[in-house]
């Protein structure tokens, strides 16, 4: 257990929740910041093509 967790256990629940939220946001941002695989880049290219006028 880290010193931080030892400290957190003594904190009020709201402080612990904020710490959890920061960690979760970091976990989430790891993936959303990843370079996209080729298959998604191709999909995005298709989605960004302008709709032809009829």
């Amino acid at each position: 257990m880290t010193d931080k967790m030892d400290q957190l256990r003594k904190q009020d629940p709201a402080t612990v929740d904020r710490w959890f939220d920061r960690q979760l946001n970091q976990l989430y941002s790891e993936v959303i910041s990843e370079p996209l695989p080729k298959e998604f880049l191709e999909l995005i290219d298709k989605l960004r093509e302008k709709t032809p006028t009829k």
Partner: protein, 204 residues
Amino acid sequence: MGETTVKEASPEFRSALVDSIPHLRAFARSLTRNRDRADDLVHDAAVRALAAADQFSPGTNFKAWIFTILRNLYYNEGRKDHSRNVPFDETTVTEHAIPPTQEAALEFADFRRAFWQLGEDHREVLMLVGASGLSYEEAAKVCNCAVGTIKSRVSRARQELTKLLSDDTLATSRGEAPSIAQAEPAELLRPEANPEPERLAREG
């Protein structure tokens, strides 16, 4: 994906879909704990969303709508396939994801390990409410349950995280923790890396 399907969706819809892809990948990763399987799921969800573009109500939360599609796909189809694990790929570790201090890095490593030991429903609600920014009400719609159920799950998930983070076995295994970008079920299920292998095995 058919060209016709793409072209039939409005520019606004297509733009929202493009913007949602990284978020879908994060949500799918939290469900599957497997990069390739998550990306397959995201691709399938994008195709399904395009086919159902006319069912989206403009002005409502697009992210919640497409998260629902992805989740339904996962529970209806993808969850059955547990055989497509891929080797751990170290090249996906991104520098910006590394916390600024050593202490923060150790804390985050412990947190990651604890997160991946949570049950599927707990990982799901924490990712929806705690990370992706959905409200309780929106998360309840995504999960097709009552708002109170989401609140209870979030509360229990946080309690479980606290319990796991208080477990000394986390600290002893520090340094081995996979990130969400690295998550690999086979790695997590190694007995020496996981203090609760029976529980994870039950969760499938």
